[in-house]
């Protein structure tokens, strides 16, 4: 989805504000939420990380931007538990004593057809282009690199293709590639000539550039 979560390159955000000696968790509910996220995987049939990530991406955009990381984690995890029938929203709201906003539903027709690429097609040094694709569901190619050309730096092992697995579709393993883009190819007016951005991209997201 062309969603709020895909923040790379967005203007309008302010200063980074690091905390000295930040604790692992600031408040008890954060630790509890972390553990609930982990254990909940056992209660969710065919749970996978892609479906979980997408459950957070589906949050109301205003809620997403405003929520702390662990509030996003709780919202996504709970939305999946409710959607899968493990928990009941009304019951949770009664327990919480107030509104418990869930993520929005998965879009109709969330996956676009991309042929499976079980045989890795690319090698170190290859020039590739990211497809200009805009599915309504889960996708892990950030928008800032779609349609852009880069060079394969490294071939990583095969991992589950997230676009299908997030939506209960085909489980297919594909190599991912560390693809290096010149920063100026992504944002012509910014950065140095030597600056680059490396994005880790599944085989299906790419096409060969024939020179």
């Amino acid at each position: 989805m062309d969603g709020i979560y895909d923040l790379g390159g967005m203007h309008g955000f302010g200063a980074i504000d690091p905390e000295i000696n930040e604790p692992v968790f600031h408040e008890e509910w954060q630790a509890t939420t972390f553990a609930l996220m982990v254990v909940s995987q056992a209660f969710i049939r065919n749970h996978n990380a892609d479906e979980y990530r997408h459950s957070i991406e589906r949050m109301e955009p205003a809620h997403y931007l405003q929520a702390h990381y662990y509030e996003r984690m709780l919202t996504g995890t709970t939305s999946l538990l409710v959607e899968k029938g493990v928990l009941d929203k009304a019951d949770l709201e009664a327990r919480a004593g107030g509104a418990f906003p869930m993520s929005r539903p998965v879009a109709d027709d969330p996956v676009i057809e991309l042929p499976s690429q079980c045989e890795g097609r690319f090698s170190v040094g290859d020039r590739v282009r990211v497809l200009e694709m805009h599915p309504k569901g889960h996708i892990r190619a950030p928008r800032f690199c779609r349609g852009k050309a880069g060079t394969v730096l490294h071939v990583a092992p095969k991992f589950n293709f997230p676009d299908t697995s997030a939506h209960g579709g085909e489980l297919r393993l594909e190599h991912t590639y560390h693809v290096e883009f010149a920063s100026r190819d992504l944002w012509p007016a910014e950065g140095n000539e030597t600056d680059t951005v490396v994005v880790d991209l599944w085989d299906s997201y790419l096409e060969a550039i024939v020179s």
């Binding site: 509910w29 493990v86 418990f100 994005v199």
Partner: protein
């Protein structure tokens, strides 16, 4: 729709926990183990990996070739560490890590990520204007040094091997490790200089 008065987040968390317990799906103590584990994943682990790489050229080579195995040698493995790639800073190139779309990090060697890493500001900005972000965070890089930003968009989890500071000849691994912060492992800082 956005001005909904949500129940306080602590109450929402407790609602989920109590509902799972009442359904018999969860025993309260079960959560403790995961919370304990979260405290074992910490940047001190990555710092030890870096210190060893600084002092042991063969280890450095193994780390660059197979980060996952080299971290596991020191006992650092687990979730979000299934495929670790170590990024070598050089005098000519500085590496920095981000996850623009969520907040993926190599938990076993970096720990759960800090809040600033997970907030929209860092995620939006560092891919597009890394020099400015680094400068605001206290790291001014010479224009001669290339910046390579690594976007954690798939399953690879990165850690940066910063440059070893001058004036640390003959230091022990433990002492060297004390110079390597979480910020240095992410690439928004250099390793600390030795204090005189």
């Amino acid at each position: 729709m956005n001005n909904i008065n949500r129940a306080p987040i602590a109450d929402r968390t407790e609602a989920v926990e109590s509902a799972l317990i009442d359904k018999g799906l969860l025993q309260e103590e079960a959560l403790e183990g995961f919370i304990h584990a979260a405290h074992e994943w910490k940047p001190e682990n990555g710092a030890k990996v870096v210190a060893k790489a600084w002092t042991d050229p063969e280890y450095r080579e193994r780390l660059l070739k197979d980060g996952t195995a080299a971290c596991a040698e020191l006992g650092y493995a687990g979730p979000q560490g299934e495929y670790i790639v170590a990024l070598e800073d050089t005098p000519e190139r500085h590496n920095v890590i981000v996850c623009t779309q969520c907040s993926c990090t190599a938990w076993p060697v970096l720990g759960l990520p800090p809040d600033w890493y997970k907030r929209p500001e860092y995620r939006a900005r560092v891919v597009r204007e890394p020099r400015r972000v680094l400068s605001e965070m206290g790291l001014d890089l010479s224009p001669d040094i290339a910046v390579r930003v690594w976007e954690t968009s798939a399953e690879t989890r990165y850690m940066v091997i910063p440059l070893r500071p001058n004036g640390t000849d003959g230091w022990s691994e433990d002492r060297l490790a004390s110079l390597v912060t979480r910020e240095a492992l992410i690439g928004v800082a250099l390793a600390n200089e030795p204090q005189d």
